[in-house]
């Protein structure tokens, strides 16, 4: 149970060492800078003031972003060879000297990045242009048979109308309608260029002096001029457009090639992006420092373990004046958890809920045991457990450079896998009943012969009641462990009476009631138990339960007075119903355990449908592989979710509130490389 002890560190140093000190702190990543606000300092700040570094920081952040988007563009043209396991490989380690080189090369790399981004933009622009041109080309299609400019309005003595009618018409129909509308005019010629459903493109010519009349008659027929008439004849215009599309495509290609030619600089780009991120976070800290003309002051939290070495280094190497003190009582300390090999993996689960709040203990050590046990029970198949543990084990051994958080998660599943194996052996489940099924179907093992993989303990499907009772028992142990944590927490703060009131009485009440219940004949018969509990024990248990109940009624409302206190006490006793539902909740251990086994059986049975011939073997292998992979994934998810739920709701509900703030040290929050110490 280790919430790491925090100290407050004060560093006073000369400004000419500022860069070195900040860089050193960033590499060590053990100090969370926490500068007091101006208001709280008041007169005490003397000649010290803060510098505004926001604009510098913004520049770095913008650069980091620029380089980042350059990499994105680059990756779409020259996809990097990324293996499926890339995320397991972790960040590349680089030396301080390489960082220095990256810093020196940064302006040049930034220029490359800007160029890549500009090229990417050019490609986008040209693609938009192509889309525009293609739309134009599409609009021209109905006019391809027209051999004059679409803007032709006539000659000296004729008027020409080029446009569309909103229906399908033939040249004859157009002429007939015109003749009907304008009986006095003759010599109108119409030609249909093309017809589509609901549209006719037509060319109409008449004598120049009759133009106005013909036009109004045409309008009466729904005639409209095209939206974008081309100056050249449509065929030529289309050729021009195609040429422009080809040019744009060529431009895209050349831009793409130019982008791809930077593929060799990908690494540099990534490093530079990280370098800018680092600089940005350094400038943020810089803006938080109190500075006088020659001296700066930095304060924050440091883990107690790292404090002495840091103090020595700062004093000896950088002539700083360093003070390390125990933080004041009211300070909002950041929380860092530290645990051993076995319990550290569940830190992530705790963080998913909330880090321990003030005066709370780190529940990892207690929780991890239950976590592994409960998870294993829900999945409970030896072969599945073996596969999980094997997979995780191989990954953990092969990839030494995995990021810490991921490594912990993998280790958690490794232990969960081991536990699953353990329960699988106890319940006799190896890919469900695969061994028996294979033996019976393909090797003629008698159906009435005993199972080849007998359970070490019992088979859940044969005795579900027994497993349910065991689940409840585990639940009671889990919940009581939560209560014990509560007692521990309260005692640590010296609140012994509260420990008795809020936890002790519940032990008596719930414990007493359970023993009394178990001693009932009816219950034993129902559950198929035969535990002889002497009446004396039952009576003692009932007495304890009574003391607990009275105690709870008397103390639950101890903050209030009079009738209110009594009512609150009664309400406190009502909490026994939540105990009932909490314990019942552990029946999911049975439900999920059975689900794994039964679905595995279903798949095994499906596999044997085609008998024992060659086809049968092929079918069996197919169904077996697909089915068990599916079953494993689904039940892995179920086990994970429900184990978390039992921890969060049932276990944490008994003692844990959380609300702690995570320790966020000043560090190089890089994505691609990791600075190793020089």
């Amino acid at each position: 149970m280790a919430v790491v002890e925090m100290k407050r560190i004060h560093v006073y140093a000369l400004k000419n060492n500022r860069k070195k000190i900040l860089e050193m702190l960033q590499r060590r990543a053990v100090v969370e800078v926490d500068t007091p606000e101006e208001a709280s300092l008041g007169e005490a700040k003397g000649p010290f003031s803060k510098t505004d570094t926001a604009s510098a920081r913004l520049t770095f952040e913008k650069n980091a972003q620029l380089v980042g988007s350059a990499v994105e563009t680059l990756d779409s043209y020259a996809p990097p060879q990324k293996s499926m396991l890339a995320m397991l490989e972790g960040r590349t380690g680089v030396s301080a000297r390489q960082v220095q080189q990256t810093a020196e090369a940064a302006p040049e790399v930034t220029k490359i990045a800007a160029n890549i981004v500009a090229l990417g933009k050019r490609v986008n622009d040209q693609q938009a242009e192509i889309a525009r041109l293609e739309a134009q080309l599409e609009a021209l299609k109905p006019w391809m048979n027209l051999d004059v400019s679409m803007r032709t309005i006539g000659t000296n003595s004729t008027s020409v109308f080029i446009g569309t009618f909103p229906e399908e018409l033939t040249a004859g129909e157009i002429k007939t309608r015109l003749a009907a509308a304008l009986p006095e005019i003759s010599g109108v010629e119409a030609e249909v260029v093309s017809t589509q459903p609901q549209q006719t493109c037509a060319f109409v010519v008449c004598l120049g002096r009759e133009g106005a009349k013909v036009e109004s008659a045409l309008r009466g027929m729904g005639f409209t001029y095209p939206a974008a008439p081309s100056k050249k004849p449509p065929v030529q215009r289309a050729e021009d457009l195609r040429a422009r599309i080809a040019a744009a495509q060529a431009d895209i290609e050349s831009a793409g090639k130019e982008i791809a030619s930077y593929a060799g600089r990908r690494q540099d780009l990534l490093f530079t992006s990280d370098y800018y991120t680092m600089r940005a976070s350094k400038y943020q800290v810089l803006g938080d420092l109190w500075q006088s003309p020659h001296v700066f002051y930095l304060t924050g939290y440091v883990t107690a373990g790292a404090a002495p070495a840091l103090q020595r280094e700062l004093e000896e190497k950088y002539q700083a004046f360093v003070e390390v003190e125990t933080p004041a009582e009211g300070e909002d300390l950041p929380i860092k958890l530290q645990n051993g090999f076995f319990s550290a993996p569940v830190e992530g689960v705790i963080e998913g809920y909330s880090l321990p709040g003030k005066r709370e203990v780190d529940p990892s050590k207690v929780m991890c045991v239950f976590y592994y046990v409960l998870f294993g029970m829900m999945l409970s198949d030896a072969a599945y457990g073996f596969l999980i543990a094997l997979g995780m084990g191989i990954v953990l051994l092969k990839f030494k450079n995995i990021e810490e958080g991921l490594r912990k998660t993998l280790r958690m599943f490794f232990f969960c896998g081991l536990s699953t194996m353990f329960w699988g052996v106890l319940f006799g489940s190896y890919f469900g009943d695969a061994v028996d099924v294979i033996a019976r179907t393909f090797f003629g093992y008698g159906a009435d012969m005993p199972s080849l993989t007998p359970p070490l303990w019992f088979a859940p499907l044969d005795q579900p009641m027994r497993l349910m009772l065991f689940s409840f028992l585990l639940g009671i142990i889990h919940l009581f462990a939560g209560l014990a944590m509560q007692i521990y927490q309260l005692c640590r703060r010296g609140k012994y009476l509260d420990a008795l009131y809020d936890s002790g009485f519940w032990y008596m009440l719930v414990g007493g009631l359970i023993i009394a219940l178990v001693s009932l004949d009816m219950f034993q018969e129902m559950m198929g138990l035969s535990i002889a509990i002497p009446p004396v024990v039952t009576n003692i248990a009932l007495a304890f339960a009574a003391i607990g109940a009275v105690g709870i009624v008397a103390t639950s409302g101890r903050e209030s007075r009079g009738v209110k206190r009594f009512l609150k006490g009664l309400y406190g006793l009502y909490g026994v119903s939540s105990w009932l539902s909490d314990i019942l909740s552990y029946s999911r251990l049975l439900a999920l355990g059975l689900a794994t086994g039964v679905i595995a059986q279903v798949f095994n049975m499906l596999g044997t449908m085609a008998g024992s011939g060659p086809v049968g073997v092929v079918l069996f292998v197919l169904v077996f592989v697909i089915g068990h992979v599916l079953n494993l994934l689904i039940n892995l998810l179920g086990a994970y979710v429900h184990t978390n739920r039992l921890q969060y709701v049932e276990f944490f509900g008994k003692f844990y509130e959380g609300g702690g703030r995570k320790f966020e040290p000043f560090a190089a929050k890089t994505k691609y490389f990791k600075i190793t110490e020089e």
Partner: protein
């Protein structure tokens, strides 16, 4: 009709129960996973890195279908279809039907409501990916009742043969 053996209907009703459990649980889960899938896909269009998280949330209402299958299968192994002996009386068949009903009905309804909780959790994760741990718990709360129904169904089914 006078010679009609009503007891022959026992196995019919028992099978009806098994089928209903798988059917209704499956329907509920299909609706549920469909709902959550839409929400999850929406999140992934904005932020593909959330795929793993929203996938887990999407699958949460999928368990009712599995529980339904489980009850269906266990019933089949009891009533002489895949093992066991066929119920010899009408009442026994009806008992199997009744035993399957908790899983069938609660499974279908809870899957739908769990899906609604999961959809909300998916939008929670979209806005605050760091709150994934908590977001998982809200839909899991609904599932409790499916688990309880499963429990009652399975305890009933495995005990009916001894009545």
């Amino acid at each position: 009709m006078q010679n009609f053996d009503w007891n022959a209907l026992g196995v019919v009703f028992a099978l009806l129960g098994a089928v209903l459990a798988a059917l209704m649980g499956g329907i509920g889960s299909a609706i549920g996973v469909g709902l959550t899938g839409q929400a999850a896909a929406g999140v992934v269009t904005e932020d593909p890195s959330q795929f793993g998280k929203v996938l887990i949330l999407q699958l949460l209402p999928g368990t009712q279908g599995i529980y339904g299958l489980l009850i269906g299968f266990v019933t089949l192994t009891q009533i002489g279809v895949l093992g066991g002996t066929a119920p010899d009386t009408l009442s026994k068949g009806l008992l199997y039907l009744a035993a399957c009903l908790p899983m069938a009905i609660v499974g279908m309804v809870s899957a739908k409501w769990q899906a609604k909780a999961a959809v909300s959790s998916i939008s929670l994760v979209a806005k605050r990916p760091d709150q994934f741990g908590k977001s998982m718990i809200f839909p899991a709360m609904v599932e409790t009742y499916a688990v309880l129904a499963l429990l009652i169904s399975i305890l009933s089914i495995t005990s009916i043969a001894n009545i």
